[in-house]
């Protein structure tokens, strides 16, 4: 399996290359000059030229690209134009924040959604099922930033139970750190579990129709075992794929949630980088995210056969 992953990673190199070219071009085409932004409204031609030269922004694009990729290949993502920080550690630190939220949220969402979805399917068309489907459709229809705002208003301001600003990492102070994670995690859990419940429900329905479920029942297997042992592994396949996509999207796309809760995550780093035209930061983030996305998908593909042995053959 390890070898398989390595091979898939190798196969995704052309994609990464394309991604890097795209990112690079995209950024250069955007109006806005990092040097100008750095110096503000009083920049003079000389000072601008000096900053550009310092950042290597005065070189022709192909040369800039080659320098950048050359450095990246050596594991050096460069330094931020704005803050001069080294980018790779910066990305990793910010990613840690995002990851801790997303990972916790996805795990909780999956733990809730999978049994709920299966029970809804098992009790198809019952009142319970209709209720669960209605709730999950409702949750699905609330954008995360709106949900976050409402939570913030209620738990942070109205009840004052949870801190509304700042962030303390878990490593720093575990208990306080947890407090800062609660609302973002709840937001993501609520929003994502809607999708997951529906997915799990429909794939379970699909599976419950099949003969091997009847066969297991005919053998005298109890309903709980039928669901857990016979239906689950088969119904989980599509949900797993969805989880992968979701994870990929969340790891990069929770800029809005990070904005609402002012979390120093990867999404905000990217958005701020874009605002500040901090080329190295944006390039680094996007490349990192693309690689992450590819990696997540590969890993998901790799663990898929655990749930569906047929996949291995294709």
């Amino acid at each position: 399996m390890f070898l398989h992953i390595v091979r898939r990673l190798g196969a995704s190199l052309p994609t990464l290359f394309l991604v890097s070219v795209l990112i690079f071009l995209l950024l250069r085409l955007v109006p806005g000059d990092p040097a100008q932004l750095l110096l503000g409204d009083l920049a003079t031609e000389q000072s601008l030229a000096r900053v550009r030269q310092q950042m290597g922004l005065d070189l022709p694009w192909p040369q800039q690209y080659l320098i950048w990729t050359g450095q990246v290949l050596q594991g050096d993502f460069g330094r931020s134009i704005q803050t001069g920080q080294e980018i790779l550690p910066l990305i990793l630190r910010r990613f840690g924040v995002t990851l801790s939220i997303v990972a916790v949220a996805i795990v909780i969402a999956a733990l809730i959604a999978i049994p709920v979805g299966m029970i809804a399917a098992w009790k198809q068309n019952s009142r319970l099922d209709v209720g669960l489907v209605a709730i999950s459709t409702l949750l699905l229809s609330i954008p995360s930033f709106w949900m976050g705002l409402l939570l913030l208003l209620f738990f942070g301001l109205h009840l004052g139970w949870l801190p509304v600003v700042g962030y303390v990492s878990l490593a720093e102070n575990f208990q306080r750190g947890l407090l800062y994670l609660i609302m973002p995690v709840i937001t993501l859990v609520l929003v994502e579990s809607g999708t997951l419940v529906r997915m799990m429900r429909s794939s379970t329905l699909e599976v419950l129709r099949l003969d091997y479920i009847s066969h297991a029942r005919a053998k005298g297997v109890g309903e709980r075992t039928v669901l857990a042992r016979h239906a689950f592994p088969n119904a989980f396949g599509p949900t797993l794929t969805l989880l992968g996509i979701m994870l990929g999207n969340l790891l990069s796309g929770i800029a809005v949630v990070e904005t609402v809760f002012t979390l120093p995550g990867l999404g905000r780093l990217l958005v701020e980088g874009i605002y500040a035209r901090d080329y190295p930061v944006v390039q680094g983030c996007m490349l990192f995210i693309a690689a992450l996305y590819i990696l997540v998908n590969i890993v998901i593909d790799a663990i898929h056969p655990l749930f569906d042995p047929r996949v291995k053959d294709t």
Binding site: L37, P163, V164, T262
Partner: protein, 498 residues
């Protein structure tokens, strides 16, 4: 808030850029650094220059030699005593092109002012010589964006000359910097204060708070929430955000005008807008008072002047602006043959400036007299790009504070062919500014400032409506957190009571 004066948490909307004053900086960086480092001189509350590390200074008859007499007993954060030797060392470091000091060009003759030599005749005296007399030396030295030409200890850099961390003489020592999250400043217990009362960045400073925690919170709504919940003790806010804090128990507000100027830039080279009658019509169409109050939650002070109201240079003359006269505006438009051609006003929605509000309100008023104004919001980076290329018709823009009137006018005036970002291209004005920067006598300077103001109002290359508004919002146990001409908080004046 366990005990009085223990810790105060201040919110700041973005992280600072570096710890090297005047090099890689922005307004926030300056704000933090002003707690850590000091220069020979600094700005007072009203934008005039006062001594800081210098006890006093003399200027020679010919205006070419400045002699600074240093205060005695001032210590660096590492315990060493500040002497003339360190002033010269610091100066040399800033003037070294390697350092990439932002203000290098302002002192090496590139722009005009040229310092030819700095020396230390004795331990407590520093002399500076100029190539030509200039009124701008002290004003430039006092600029926060130049890092007030900070006097720092050589241990601030390593053997190769790379910057490590500022070891200055300010009331606070630089503590911990957790990028993008928080900055900690620790009280400098051995700080020796001047005797005068606090005045702007100079005067007496009595740090009392042990730890100042500066929290980076980009989102103003969150700052508001944090102030309400008590997670944040104090913050400087824009006028719009302060509104929701009015009447909130436990939170107090204080308002002051600052050195920013908000207004609409007009591209005088635009085929349509090159007609002074149309520009004039716009000026007459806008009710300055309404525009100022409406876009600042009623906190701004209406003024068409380029000199902010809180400045020492703001006088009766500067209070003269445009009369609101929509009828006259319509007549002028008709005269100019304006025919409903669309005019684009570029604005941005950065939370720190009222750019968008000004544009929206101006749009409404311009439309009232038949000017087809259309607001187009852009991301700041894009707007700034347009600004620096001069590619716009109109633009809602906020100028960052300058303390000296010559610098204020220099911000807006210049030759567009050479510097497209300049808005007011008037050779007569350029000459006047040159004269202003050479003149030292206050009365003559005021006369020049007045003349420039009148010319600007006449020419209408841009429309100022009001200077920026700083709102200090703080929990009620915080004292001395006051807004002022310079926008940044001054924590050395703050104490807490429980």
């Amino acid at each position: 808030q366990a005990a009085s004066n223990e810790t105060v948490t201040v919110a700041m909307n973005a992280d600072m850029r570096s710890t090297q004053p005047g090099v890689n900086r922005d307004g926030n960086t300056d704000g933090v650094m002003m707690h850590v480092v000091e220069g020979l001189v600094g700005y007072r509350e009203d934008g005039s220059v006062g001594p800081m590390l210098a006890e006093r200074y003399d200027i020679s008859e010919d205006g070419l030699t400045y002699t600074f007499h240093l205060r005695e007993g001032v210590r660096f954060h590492n315990g060493e005593t500040m002497t003339a030797e360190y002033v010269v060392w610091s100066w040399d470091r800033w003037m070294d092109p390697e350092t990439e000091w932002r203000c290098l060009a302002d002192f090496d003759g590139t722009v005009g002012l040229e310092v030819t030599g700095v020396s230390a005749p004795d331990e407590h005296t520093v002399t500076m010589t100029l190539a030509e007399p200039s009124a701008l030396l002290l004003a430039t030295m006092a600029r926060p964006d130049c890092g007030v030409v900070a006097v720092v200890h050589p241990d601030s850099v390593d053997e190769e000359g790379n910057w490590i961390e500022p070891i200055g003489t300010g009331p606070y020592k630089f503590g911990r910097w957790d990028h993008n999250r928080s900055i900690e400043l620790n009280r400098f217990h051995d700080y020796v204060s001047r005797d005068e009362p606090m005045d702007g960045y100079v005067g007496g400073k009595q740090p009392t708070i042990e730890t100042v925690r500066i929290l980076i919170v980009p989102d103003p709504a969150t700052v508001v929430a944090g102030l309400q919940s008590g997670d944040i003790d104090a913050a400087m806010l824009g006028s719009a955000d302060s509104r929701s804090l009015r009447g909130v128990p436990g939170v107090e507000l204080a308002v002051a005008s600052n050195g920013q100027r908000n207004g609409l830039l007009i591209q005088t080279q635009d085929p349509l807008l090159s007609d002074p009658r149309i520009r004039r019509a716009m000026a007459l169409a806008i009710d300055t008072e309404q525009a100022a109050l409406g876009s600042s939650e009623g906190l701004g002070t209406p003024s068409n002047s380029n000199v902010p109201v809180a400045s020492a240079w703001y006088g009766e003359m500067q209070a003269q602006g445009y009369e609101y006269d929509p009828e006259a505006a319509r007549a002028l438009l008709a005269e100019a043959g304006y025919n409903g051609e669309p005019i684009e006003i570029i604005a941005n929605r950065r939370p720190v400036v009222p750019s968008y509000n000004v544009a929206i309100i101006a749009q409404a008023m311009l439309q009232e007299v038949g000017i087809n104004a259309q607001v187009n919001t852009m991301e700041w980076a894009t707007q700034l790009d347009r600004y620096s290329r001069g590619r716009y018709q109109m633009m809602s823009f906020t100028y960052s504070p300058r303390f000296d009137p010559a610098l204020m006018f220099e911000q807006i005036t210049g030759d567009k062919r050479q510097e497209p970002r300049k808005v007011w291209d008037n050779s007569q004005a350029i000459a006047l500014i040159g004269e202003l920067s050479r003149t030292e006598d206050d009365a003559s300077r005021q006369a020049l400032v007045d003349e420039l103001h009148t010319m600007m109002i006449e020419d209408t290359p841009l429309l100022f409506f009001f200077p920026g508004v700083s709102v200090a919002a703080y929990r009620e146990h915080v004292e001395g957190f006051t807004p002022w001409f310079g926008e940044n908080p001054r924590m050395w004046a703050v104490r807490t009571i429980l």
